[in-house]
């Protein structure tokens, strides 16, 4: 009887102490949900990307002892790149009080944007999602630095101009935009149309329906138009087919430029040697020649904690996952330094960190990413930051940066972006905030 009573008492104490223990554990770590697509048709892009995230977060824990001494705890949730599964992941994991989510899908981002201010969770859609949300006055909880699709498209036009001999040489040139027939694929169209009017180039928009496995008719039109340049906004298999079609139609590959979701190793495999010369926009360097990769090998891979094979480090999407994780970490670190925290930042504090992120050259050097990405600064008004794009080229074996950093045509992009922000915010019933009152 005594033994039974003792056991019941012990059980009661354990049950009573459980939430306290959980809360204590939560206080000591920063929980970050990782929306991944390791399965499904987009897995070839999703896996290296997820591995990049895992590796960088692991590196921060192993090398730096966490963010300002607070360790990161990561939990993956499989979305298969499907919006409904992404929203399900969000709803399931928001109870663990994450300071941020990276939806890693434009569709999921659109669904989370209305939820973010209610749940007070930062949505960071790095280089994707809703372009208009870059206006932080209307969308305080959404960030899309280092750049938006519109800025990217304007940087592409500037790159074309630089290759042709100047902006005035664009007049009369023929540019075709081949895009995934989805909100994502269409994002660049308004910017390209505006710039076509301003600079007198002839723009043709050719949609490719999902998934884009058969593009014969599209490329026959391309042959008929005989463009000087092609801009490709594809995704998944559409990119592979487009690159192969371009090569098989004899198009000059160095005059075909993908956006930054159309320039990975997967995209050039099918075309093999024919893909040589194909270019794409990017906001970070490819390759494993940076100090952060050495750190990764030393602190993570040599301890058997790597997420992938060592020889796959430096792949475009692995690097992109690392860059995304780094931006998350630096934003959290900014908040923790500001509020002198040795515990996880509260949601408003984390948001402040994102909004005041100032990633300097010096800081990039400290974390081993000097040269891998440009410094950037986020402000209350500008949630896409002052990021710049570059052009990388496939040389048959690897991607290499072949341009200087290109400043987007901000005087064209920003007014359109602000107008779109008003429109989108009205749909959501948002009110504008005065950034001069933000500290």
């Amino acid at each position: 009887m005594k033994v039974r009573g003792f056991l019941i008492g012990l059980l009661a104490m354990t049950v009573a102490a459980w939430p306290v223990a959980g809360a204590w554990a939560q206080d000591k770590t920063i929980f970050i949900p990782l929306f991944v697509y390791r399965t499904g048709p987009y897995a070839p892009s999703g896996i290296p990307n997820a591995n990049g995230f895992q590796d960088y977060f692991n590196l921060v824990n192993e090398r730096d002892g966490g963010v300002n001494g607070v360790k990161l705890v990561i939990e993956e949730c499989e979305t298969q790149y499907k919006t409904d599964l992404g929203v399900e992941c969000y709803e399931r994991l928001k109870g663990k009080k994450p300071p941020l989510v990276n939806p890693y899908s434009t569709g999921i981002t659109y669904q989370l944007i209305p939820k973010a201010p209610v749940d007070k969770i930062v949505v960071h859609s790095m280089g994707y999602g809703m372009t208009a949300s870059a206006d932080g006055r209307w969308f305080p909880w959404v960030f899309n630095f280092p750049m938006t699709y519109w800025s990217q498209a304007s940087a592409f036009v500037k790159y074309v101009a630089s290759q042709e001999g100047g902006m005035d040489k664009l007049k009369g040139k023929k540019i075709v935009h081949i895009f995934h027939n989805s909100p994502y694929g269409k994002e660049a169209n308004p910017t390209l149309e505006t710039l076509a009017k301003q600079h007198g180039f002839e723009l043709t928009l050719l949609a490719v329906d999902h998934p884009g496995q058969e593009q014969g008719a599209t490329w026959l039109q391309v042959r008929r138009i005989n463009p000087d340049w092609i801009y490709l906004s594809g995704w998944g298999v559409m990119n592979q087919v487009a690159v192969k079609e371009a090569a098989s139609k004899g198009f000059k590959m160095d005059h075909m430029v993908g956006n930054w979701w159309s320039g990975s190793e997967s995209d050039v495999v099918a075309a093999a040697d024919g893909a040589r010369g194909f270019k794409s926009m990017t906001f970070h360097a490819p390759g494993a020649g940076f100090k952060v990769h050495q750190d990764l090998v030393k602190h993570v891979y040599d301890k058997g904690k790597g997420a992938t094979k060592k020889d796959l480090l430096g792949e475009v999407y692995h690097n992109r996952g690392m860059i995304n994780a780094m931006l998350n970490v630096e934003a959290l670190r900014t908040a923790m330094l500001k509020f002198k925290l040795k515990t996880p930042p509260a949601s408003e504090q984390a948001r402040w960190g994102f909004e005041n992120l100032n990633l300097t050259e010096q800081r990039l050097e400290q974390i081993g990413m000097k040269g891998m990405m440009r410094p950037l600064k986020v402000t209350c008004e500008n949630h896409e930051s002052n990021g710049m794009a570059a052009v990388q080229q496939w040389d048959g074996k690897q991607w290499k940066i072949v341009s200087d950093w290109i400043e987007p045509i901000r005087d064209v992009v920003r007014p359109k972006l602000e107008a779109a922000a008003v429109e989108e915010a009205k749909k959501l019933g948002y009110t504008v905030r005065d950034c001069s009152k933000e500290k």
């Binding site: 290296p48 027939n181 008719a217 039109q221 042959r223 592979q240 192969k244």
Partner: protein
């Protein structure tokens, strides 16, 4: 006019590539009445097999092809014996759900076995197009067309001249009557899955070369449905004709309508055509009309 010819020729050639996948679907339906939603996944699986074998560099393409075909035949047998046979006599919906499940299993298995990265499937086919009378013809499309036509001839001979082929036709006509005359119906079922495996191997080699090999390749299976419904679910000739029609209609629609409506016509126009054809010929162009006494 040159543009029209371009669209027509390319559409017909792509249509034959669709037919190559559709043939496997028809073979299974013809003998077993099973609607196989996993045909695209079998194509993907075969393509992975070919890409992995070629990637290892242990054997040349001429040796890979028979090994691949044998492997797919074995897979067909295993699937039939392990998954489909226990469902004989069960409601059609159960069988359909199982083939849908099988599709996901094959995708997951491919990702586990060979990882999800895109693989190259190199074939000794030139990349540069042939230019015939101003019309650009992609060499891989020509290979696919020749393969599809040869498949049609081979399967035609098989079904009319071989003992097994005639047995398969008999089973397709009436399973019970076939059993009474001593045909081993279960063996016929297994054989149909095995032959569908060979068709998947051919489709996998061609489509894998064209698109690169990853789990995306399974989506080519989606093209099968308008093709086989137009042509007739149980007709190999119908699969070829359906493929040609779908390829042609897609190409013409994408070439002439998409520029005006901003895209998207290629995907629904074949289905519109399919609905119109079903009004007039509910069993498709070459499908067998089954009249049952009640």
């Amino acid at each position: 006019m040159e543009f029209f010819f371009d669209l027509t020729v390319n559409g017909l050639l792509v249509g034959l590539m669709y037919a190559l996948v559709a043939v496997g679907f028809v073979l299974i339906y013809k003998a077993t009445s099973v609607i196989n939603f996993a045909q695209g996944d079998l194509v993907m699986f075969a393509a992975y097999g070919a890409a992995v074998m070629l990637g290892l560099g242990w054997m040349p393409l001429w040796a890979v092809i028979p090994v691949l075909a044998t492997g797919m035949v074995a897979l067909g047998f295993v699937l039939e014996r392990g998954i489909l046979r226990p469902l004989i006599g069960q409601p059609v919906i159960s069988v359909i759900m199982v083939t849908i499940g099988l599709a996901f299993v094959l995708q997951g298995l491919a990702a586990i076995l060979w990882k999800a990265g895109t693989r190259e499937l190199p074939l000794p086919v030139r990349v540069e197009p042939y230019v015939v009378g101003g019309v650009f013809i992609s060499p891989i499309n020509v290979v696919a067309a020749v393969t599809a036509i040869l498949s049609l001839v081979a399967f035609g001979l098989f079904f009319t001249r071989s003992r097994f082929g005639i047995a398969m036709r008999a089973v397709a006509d009436d399973q019970q009557a076939s059993m009474t005359v001593g045909i081993n119906v279960r063996r016929v079922f297994a054989l149909s899955w095995a032959i569908a495996g060979i068709a998947a191997a051919a489709g996998g080699l061609i489509w894998g070369n064209m698109l690169g090999v990853d789990t995306f390749l399974a989506l080519v299976g989606l093209k099968v449905f308008p093709v086989v419904i137009l042509g007739g679910l149980d007709s190999i000739l119908g699969a070829i004709v359906g493929g040609l029609i779908v390829g042609l209609v897609e190409s013409i629609a994408a070439g002439y309508l998409d520029p005006y409506v901003g895209g998207g016509t290629k995907d629904f126009v074949p289905y519109v055509l399919m609905i119109l054809v079903l009004f007039v010929r509910p069993h498709g162009f070459f499908g067998r009309e089954i009249i049952e006494r009640v």
